[in-house]
């Protein structure tokens, strides 16, 4: 009992620190890659290749003046960014980060909590994420902030439906709601041939993956769906009035959300910690190394999706608000319902039911 508590505390600390560091360096990566995609170099003055830039930004944000508007609701004004940060951080609890780690005869599962409704937990956390934005935006007592908050709320609610429906089709294939169960289910080989560790759900659910990906962008408030924080119409939207580290928390929460969303999509659709040919080397390398390769494979997939977030951001312009709603309600939701029906028919024909 004692040992498992220590294990979990260490695991939680490592994951939390990791997500914070990754979020920190995502800000640098975003600016660097934005530079590269636009034939520029990006920040490169603080340290070699600008690797100290996030620290400089952090110091800048911390030392800025804290301003709380006179007519703002003080408690909710501070609660908003805190909630955004909180909901961003708790999402990582159900993600399986690797095969079981074996150290000195002890088996340590690399997952904080293997609850049997893991996918729904992620979904619940995502749906709570909108509160940080809404409360912060409303408490600012500023019309632009309120509009940004309301846009965020309506956007999140609209895209949650399509997201949930696309996940239902995935759950029909996997037959489990547990994140670890889904990851384990992708350990086999694809359609009965090829190397092991390739039975990724994206090959069984291509349309579902596409819908999920689009909804993931919308839920993370990233371009082309970053209407809540659009600068040109809403003067930065819900965080117009927030300054100093409260603004920093909002920006930070967005990057942590991106990291968690990438981890979730890698686990749900891209095999998680499974890597091609894993059954061939499971006996020949030490179990510790095997786990390490699995974790590295997962982080490789996560990095790809993080890069994809940035890549999309600097390629596609923002949607107009009516286009956003039309895409969500008129296209994605019918498409995901059709996906459920098709999945059911195919599974019935293949005799999987």
């Amino acid at each position: 009992m004692e040992a498992i508590v220590i294990e979990k505390i260490i695991l939680i600390t490592v994951i939390l620190l990791l997500s914070l560091v990754i979020a920190m360096y995502m800000t640098l990566a975003e600016r660097k890659f934005a530079g590269f995609l636009q034939d520029r170099l990006g920040p490169n003055r603080t340290g070699p290749f600008g690797i100290l830039q996030p620290l400089a930004d952090g110091v800048k944000l911390f030392t800025k003046e804290e301003i709380i508007p006179a007519n703002a609701n003080k408690m909710l004004f501070i609660l908003g960014p805190s909630l955004a940060m909180f909901t961003a951080c708790i999402g990582s609890a159900v993600i399986p980060w690797g095969h079981d780690l074996v150290i000195g005869g002890r088996t340590i599962p690399l997952q904080v909590a293997d609850i049997n409704v893991g996918v729904l937990y992620i979904f619940g956390v995502v749906s709570l994420g909108v509160y940080g934005v809404m409360i912060g935006g409303w408490a600012s007592n500023n019309k632009y902030s309120l509009l940004g908050a309301i846009r965020a709320a309506s956007q999140n609610i609209s895209y949650e439906i399509a997201m949930g429906l696309s996940i239902i089709a995935l759950l029909m294939v996997t037959g489990t709601l547990s994140m670890r169960g889904i990851a384990v289910g992708q350990a086999g080989n694809l359609y009965g041939w090829g190397p092991s560790g390739m039975a990724w759900n994206v090959f069984y659910q291509p349309l579902g993956f596409l819908i999920y990906l689009i909804c993931m962008f919308a839920e993370a408030n990233r371009t082309p769906f970053d209407l809540p924080e659009c600068e040109s119409e809403l003067v930065a939207g819900y965080h117009t009035e927030h300054s100093s580290m409260k603004l920093g928390f909002y920006l930070f929460a967005e990057y942590i959300n991106m990291f968690i969303a990438s981890a979730v999509v890698a686990t749900l659709y891209f095999g998680g910690y499974n890597f091609p040919g894993q059954d061939a080397i499971v006996g020949s390398v030490s179990p510790f190394l095997y786990t390490l390769i699995g974790v590295a494979a997962l982080f490789l997939k996560i990095s790809f999706f993080l890069f994809f977030f940035i890549w999309i951001r600097w390629t596609i312009p923002r949607f107009r608000y009516d286009q956003l709603m039309k895409l969500g309600w008129n296209i994605l939701i019918p498409l995901s319902i059709a996906n459920i029906v098709i999945t059911g028919i195919v599974m019935f024909m293949a005799g999987k039911v």
Binding site: L76, L120, S127, Y131, M134, N156, E160
Partner: protein
């Protein structure tokens, strides 16, 4: 007192305290936020009963979607403490009588209450999603489908009401 028991008392306290605040808070936005905390306390209770699925669905549906819509409407209407209309005496009188009647009913029902055996779960895993699905789709298939038809009709009705008459 075991951990479960102390957790239960804590969650029960939070739930009742926040439900009272929902009614007593002057600012409607605060009321909604207290209601959200109440829902979280409920989720805690569900998890204590090992009903993880219901707990999570409670968060997704009530805290995550319905309360967001409530908040949405209240923020758009922008109620303030000052906008509360003055109520006529007749309404106050009717309210007092109704409250008194509710109290009478409550007291009467509490009087006839006997101490029952503590609820014992015959199967501790009955709240897990697997068992829940089996029960829903075997034993209660007909009510389940009827409920879904009810929701469908409600949805169609809402769409009909929301559509503009083009004549």
């Amino acid at each position: 007192m075991t951990i479960t028991q102390s957790l239960f008392y804590f969650l029960a306290f939070v739930a009742i305290f926040c439900s009272l605040l929902v009614v007593l808070a002057k600012n409607p936005v605060h009321s909604v936020l207290y209601l959200i905390i109440t829902f979280f306390a409920f989720t805690g209770h569900y998890i204590l009963l090992n009903a993880q699925f219901v707990g999570i669905v409670n968060i997704i549906v009530y805290a995550g979607a319905i309360m967001v819509l409530f908040l949405f409407v209240i923020m758009l209407l922008n109620f303030n403490e000052g906008t509360e209309t003055h109520k006529p005496n007749l309404v106050k009188f009717a309210g007092a009588i109704t409250g008194g009647l509710v109290l009478v009913v409550l007291v009467a029902s509490l009087q006839t209450l006997q101490q029952s055996n503590p609820v014992k779960l015959n199967n501790a895993d009955i709240g897990l999603v697997k068992n829940l699905g089996k029960v829903l789709f075997n034993e209660f298939l007909l009510p389940f489908e009827v409920v879904s038809i009810l929701f469908l009709s409600a949805m169609v009705g809402a769409v009909l009401l929301a559509r503009k008459e083009n004549n």
